[in-house]
């Protein structure tokens, strides 16, 4: 395509996007001259350019629209809703012609002349009607006259602008909202110089750069490994490390775009939908400047549309219904985006009817999604989660009060596909909030490296909830079989198992006699255990796309190069569950575990260890790692043992004095605890079990005794971080989502269990 035409298309589309926003704003502020000037300018620019590019149809349409806009601006007609509707149709008409030009390289003759004609008719009708109304203001105010005026009005428009803002607000805005503009400079440029400080960059080129940076990260990892022993290289490799990190951040920033790019589509959608459904809705948007990777922004467009649709369709009721409930006629739909650590949270909330959990319960039982007895025992929060079940989405009318759940499984699938999470909060009668947590970038994700068939595979950490080690001796009893399906008893619940070897086509008959690890995964709401042969350390992996033929295998979501230069396929937890035939059952319904925990706060789970012969316990959610540490690695500060733990100083509590008594080549078992901000280690003889325990009441007074629990029918003292690490330090955001980790050669570890779904 001609470079000139391409430029024209991009500029016009940006202009139309701006115009769309202005039009929806205009409805609430019909007298705003700046808004009108902006809209007029867009249409005028398109008309001007088409003149010499020779797109006749586009020119005619733009010209007619310009006439109407001219009258609006001169105050001869006012921007009433029906005028805005016609102008929005004009916008759609212009867009569709532009699309045709983009796809076919020119205006098609067979395009849609009738539709355009009809639109032009309506535009003209508005002008003549208003001219009739205005009486003296020129009864024959048809196109030619308006056209003659357009030159004059343009001057006036210039004056308006300089009076209002004194600077070129248009340029500044276009810089802010440009859909394809990559930011080269970090801070927004002052208005007026936008053109000089920004540059259009092909997205393909950015992707290529991102790829190369990923490559550099891998090479750096290998260089760091190879040069670790050579002191002469230390300085050089450290600099390489720093430069690589900066470069990676820079390129990632270049791919970031403000969420306003997708938020800006919402006002129009809300306007159209509320007219269609007969609602009155006020839209509030917050945090539009929050930035997100371009590809992720694309990926949440559909879920966002779905959620907004749901909010209007089922949440915010008709004005009459709202009045009957004692609410103001006008409903509020609020969109909010905010960055929290390495995630961006996008919230869509309404003040509508909320979700009636009772009807969800009834409906779920009716559709056979859960057993009635189970349904009766479920908490409100658990019931809300049912809305995400695939079977639920077809239930178009859950009740008359609320029919939420249309396509909510689609929202969840889309968001989880990009490594995000969806949460739902709803209070009957008060409103509903859908919260999407999106990772800042897709290209680099934390993953656990597992081994099977002598090959490495990467498992995204996001889907991993815990790891269980099964020793060689236990393998026969621990993994039980129902027909040909293996299962494992995880704290009393049956967990369906998927043998990775078998899933990948190896013939596995016997699981005994070998050591195994079970990775407990959550694949699209289905909980199961993946049995693997071995584990390696978690790594930050750079995701590389797979060719279509390997994608069609259906198990892999990508590939990556590990620090050891070995290639690893990235396993897709949802696809594995599907291939292994694991269904969503009421037992594995998401949120199940965390909800029981949040409800019965006193029934916490504890890791039970033995220290100096007696039993002690640690809150399981605080256990980060169980590690065998060589006694020689222990160091002392102020005669208290400390440990260098991943570059941080870890205070170690050694009640039974095992460290001094251990010979220098022996190792001690250290349980590392963390609440995100504070870390501490406890030396234990061995790990005994994971158990639930309730608080102990003191006989007579009925007060609870702090620091003691009844576990495995014995009174057990509980370590907590307040005692070990001192009072709470300010929490750091990103430390909260600590990943589960496991040392493959730790012979004594029993159960590795860490990050549960956050209870809140």
């Amino acid at each position: 395509m001609d470079e000139l035409i391409r430029e024209f298309l991009i500029e016009s589309q940006e202009g139309l996007d701006r115009m769309e926003r202005c039009l929806t704003d205009l409805e609430s502020r019909p007298d705003d001259a700046d808004l009108l000037a902006e809209i007029f300018r867009t249409v005028h620019t398109i008309k001007g350019a088409t003149g010499f590019l020779g797109f006749k149809g586009l020119e005619t349409l733009a010209h007619t629209g310009e006439n109407l806009l001219g009258m609006l601006r001169d105050g001869r007609i006012t921007a009433e809703p029906h005028v805005i509707t016609v102008l929005l149709d004009l916008l759609d008409g212009l867009r569709s012609i532009l699309r045709t030009i983009e796809q076919q390289g020119g205006e098609s003759c067979d395009g849609n002349p009738l539709q355009d004609e009809e639109l032009i008719g309506r535009l003209n009708a508005l002008q003549t009607a208003s001219a009739g109304d205005a009486g003296g203001d020129g009864g024959m105010c048809a196109a030619p006259l308006a056209q003659a005026e357009s030159g004059r009005s343009q001057n006036k428009n210039g004056t308006n602008k300089s009076e209002g803002h004194g600077g070129g607000p248009v340029d500044a805005r276009s810089e802010e909202h440009g859909t394809e503009i990559a930011r080269i400079s970090g801070s927004p440029a002052p208005a007026g110089s936008a053109a000089e400080s920004t540059l259009r960059v092909d997205v393909k080129l950015l992707n290529r750069l991102m790829n190369l940076v990923g490559e550099l990260v891998l090479t750096r990892n290998q260089v760091l490994q190879a040069t670790a022993a050579d002191p002469r290289m230390t300085m050089l490799s450290r600099r390489l490390d720093m430069v690589t990190a900066d470069l990676r951040e820079g390129v990632m920033r270049a791919r970031m775009q403000p969420v306003s790019n997708i938020f800006s589509k919402v006002p129009r959608m809300v306007r159209d939908l509320s007219q269609l459904l007969g609602r009155r809705v006020r839209l509030e948007m917050e945090g539009q400047e929050t930035e997100l990777d371009k590809s992720l922004l694309e990926a949440i467009k559909d879920p966002l549309t779905h959620a907004v649709r749901n909010a209007l369709d089922h949440g915010i009721g008709t004005p009459a219904a709202r009045l009957a409930q004692g609410k103001p006629e006008e409903g509020v739909l609020r969109l909010r985006a905010v960055q929290e650590g390495s995630h961006v949270v996008v919230e869509i909330s309404d003040d509508g009817a909320g979700i009636a959990v009772e009807s969800v319960r009834a409906r779920a039982v009716e559709r056979g999604l859960i057993a009635p007895e189970r349904a009766a025992a479920m908490s409100e929060r658990e019931l809300l989660q049912l809305i995400f079940l695939p079977g639920f989405s077809t239930a178009r009318q859950v009740t008359n009060v609320s029919g939420r759940g249309v396509g909510m499984d689609v929202v969840r699938t889309n968001v989880e596909k990009i490594g995000g999470k969806v949460e739902l909060d709803s209070q009957a009668g008060r409103g509903t909030t859908v919260r999407m947590r999106i990772p800042l970038t897709l290209a680099i994700i934390p993953a656990l490296i597992v081994r099977s068939r002598g090959q490495s595979f990467a498992l995204p950490q996001g889907a991993l909830s815990e790891l269980v080690h099964i020793s060689r001796e236990d393998a026969k009893q621990a993994i039980e079989w129902v027909e040909d399906a293996p299962v494992y008893r995880l704290r009393g619940d049956l967990l369906p198992l998927v043998l990775l070897d078998r899933l990948l086509g190896a013939c596995v008959e016997d699981v005994g006699g070998r050591e195994h690890f079970i990775a407990v995964l959550d694949g699209d709401g289905r909980r199961y255990g993946l049995v693997v042969d071995g584990l390696a350390d978690p790594e930050e992996i750079v995701v590389k796309p797979l060719s279509p033929i390997l994608k069609s295998v259906g198990l892999y979501s990508g590939a990556t190069v590990l620090g050891s230069a070995e290639l690893a396929l990235i396993l897709d937890p949802g696809a594995m569950a599907t291939m292994a035939g694991i269904r969503v059952s009421e037992r594995n319904s998401p949120g199940n575990k965390s909800d029981t925990r949040s409800e019965e706060a006193s029934e916490l789970e504890y890791l039970v260890v033995s220290v100096g012969g007696s039993q002690a316990a640690l809150p399981l959610k605080e256990v980060l790692r169980i590690e065998q540490v060589p006694a020689a690695r222990m160091e002392y500060v102020d005669r208290k043992p400390v440990l260098n733990f991943g570059g941080r100083l870890l205070r170690v509590e050694d009640r039974a004095n095992r460290i001094p008594s251990a010979s220098s080549d022996a190792s001690v078992l250290v349980v590392v605890c963390s609440d995100g901000a504070r870390h501490a280690g406890i030396v234990a003889d061995q790990v005994l079990d994971v158990a639930k325990g309730s608080e102990l009441m003191e006989a007579g007074t009925g007060n609870t005794i702090p620091g003691l629990r009844l576990l495995r029918e014995r009174v057990t003292s509980v370590f907590d971080l307040d005692m070990l690490a001192g009072p709470e330090a300010p929490r750091c955001e990103d430390g909260v989502a600590q990943s589960p980790a496991c040392e493959p050669d730790g012979a004594n570890e029993h159960t590795m269990a860490t990050s549960w779904r956050e209870a809140g």
């Binding site: 790829n211 190369l212 990923g214 490559e215 068939r453 090959q455 990948l504 086509g505 190896a506 590389k544 796309p545 797979l546 060719s547 279509p548 033929i549 390997l550 069609s552 295998v553 198990l555 892999y556 590939a559 990556t560 190069v561 230069a565 070995e566 290639l567 690893a568 396929l569």
Partner: protein, 155 residues
Amino acid sequence: MTKQQEGESAKLIQVCSVRVGEELYGIPLGDILEIVGGACPQAVPLAPDFIAGLVHYRGDVLTTVNLRRVLGMPPACAVQDLLVLEDAGGPFGLVVDSVRAVLTLSSADFEPIPATVRKRKALFAGAFKLRDRLMVVLETEQLQPMRLAQWPEGV
């Protein structure tokens, strides 16, 4: 290859010759991005039979095709060579037993494949009559993994 068939006067064509089993095959030099010696692709469980696996190539993960399997030969265990090819569908790898030489040949020695060849005919562009033997030239486009997957009877 059609260009060469159309040529009136004899033109010089560069072809890279590769050995697979006892056979010699030619690949137009223009389709080759790079020749990598001693490649060892990472196997992909459950992938179609003709996929040799993945290799790491200049920042990308490249899918490779095992030419032995495509031609219906038993798999080889020795170290093999890798050719990185490119066509409209993007780059992909081709694993062969060994890369021999780059030959400059005259289009006068080129002939299309006779109609009596039925099996896998689409894979072959034609043959060069070398002094002592024939060298069948492969159609790069047909070796694209996605193309191979579309063969109804499998390769």
